[in-house]
């Protein structure tokens, strides 16, 4: 069976996810923790007059959550490793299904396209946000997010593999349409989280995601052809 290819793909993703976890630990989680102090401070003396779309207060709920400190860090690393393995599987799956190769030469390009489709395009409408920032209805945002990723990924595929004018026109339309429709936005942007902290988080998040995706692509470029050859022999 084809377990060797699958294992290779997942391991590439997990390695990139480990790097992502480290970048999070040093650059992103500190900003999240800082934002949470503002979120909680605000919740403490909120009179319910200003913010109608305040995200659910996780702290107030009795639901299970990892303890702050080591436990939370371990869960964050695990989540990043699993997410990255998932991204690697999506990228490799797309290549395998459409009959394209991720090679040592092209791996970084595949990774870059993954970053553009999965992070950059949706971030153009829904910037990575810190806890405590107001946002529109979750389901509406998830739908827009998925639609934007699918449209952008299709556009990149057309631009990479089709040369006909119709393909280029269609690709441009697919890139632009989600942003003409526009991402669901909150009615007001009032938040206790300082804007400087939020913008710092957006930059750091995009940078970390870019690094993770490039690593996924490069690793797949080295490993996937070998795994395919081993499987076939």
């Amino acid at each position: 069976m084809l377990t060797r290819v699958l294992l290779a793909v997942l391991l590439c993703g997990m390695a990139a996810g480990l790097a992502m976890g480290a970048m999070q630990h040093f650059r992103l989680t500190p900003l999240i923790l800082q934002a949470e102090t503002f979120e909680h401070a605000e919740a403490g003396h909120s009179h319910g007059t200003t913010i109608s779309q305040e995200p659910a207060q996780e702290s107030a709920s009795a639901e299970w959550a990892p303890q702050d400190g080591t436990e939370r860090t371990v869960y964050t690393f695990a989540a990043s490793i699993l997410a990255s393995a998932g991204f690697a599987a999506l990228l490799a799956g797309a290549a395998l299904m459409t009959g394209k190769t991720i090679s040592r030469k092209s791996g970084w390009l595949w990774g870059l396209c993954g970053f553009i489709a999965m992070t950059l395009a949706p971030a153009a409408g829904l910037a990575p946000e810190l806890p405590g920032m107001p946002a529109a209805d979750l389901f509406a945002r998830q739908i827009w997010w998925l639609f934007t990723i699918a449209a952008t990924a299709s556009a990149l595929w057309l631009l990479a593999f089709k040369r006909e004018p119709w393909a280029v026109v269609l690709a441009l339309a697919l890139v632009i349409i989600p942003h003409i429709i526009g991402a669901p936005q909150p009615t007001e942007h009032e938040s206790g989280v300082p804007a400087a902290l939020a913008s710092q988080f957006v930059g750091a998040s995009l940078g970390a995601n870019a690094a993770m995706w490039l690593l996924i692509g490069i690793l797949l470029g080295y490993v996937l052809p070998k795994a395919e050859a081993a499987e076939a022999s």
């Binding site: 290819v5 997942l10 999240i32 989540a79 998932g86 946000e129 997010w145 395919e228």
Partner: protein, 57 residues
């Protein structure tokens, strides 16, 4: 990203089978970490959801 369908070590049906499995598993993992509404899964993956830019709560 050139098309070299002749040099693939795997057959077309093998590629489709493993490709579909990868896509399914990838979608499952991405959904589980990033989109599942169960509050325990949300809390466990909370910081990663924010860091990766998933639409979160």
């Amino acid at each position: 990203m050139t098309t070299r369908s002749i040099s693939f070590p795997l057959s077309v049906s093998q590629r489709i089978a493993i490709g579909a499995l990868c896509l399914f598993l990838g979608a499952f993992l991405t959904w589980g970490v990033g989109m599942a509404q169960d509050s325990r899964m949300h809390n466990a993956a909370h910081d990663t959801r924010h860091a990766i830019g998933f639409p979160c709560h």
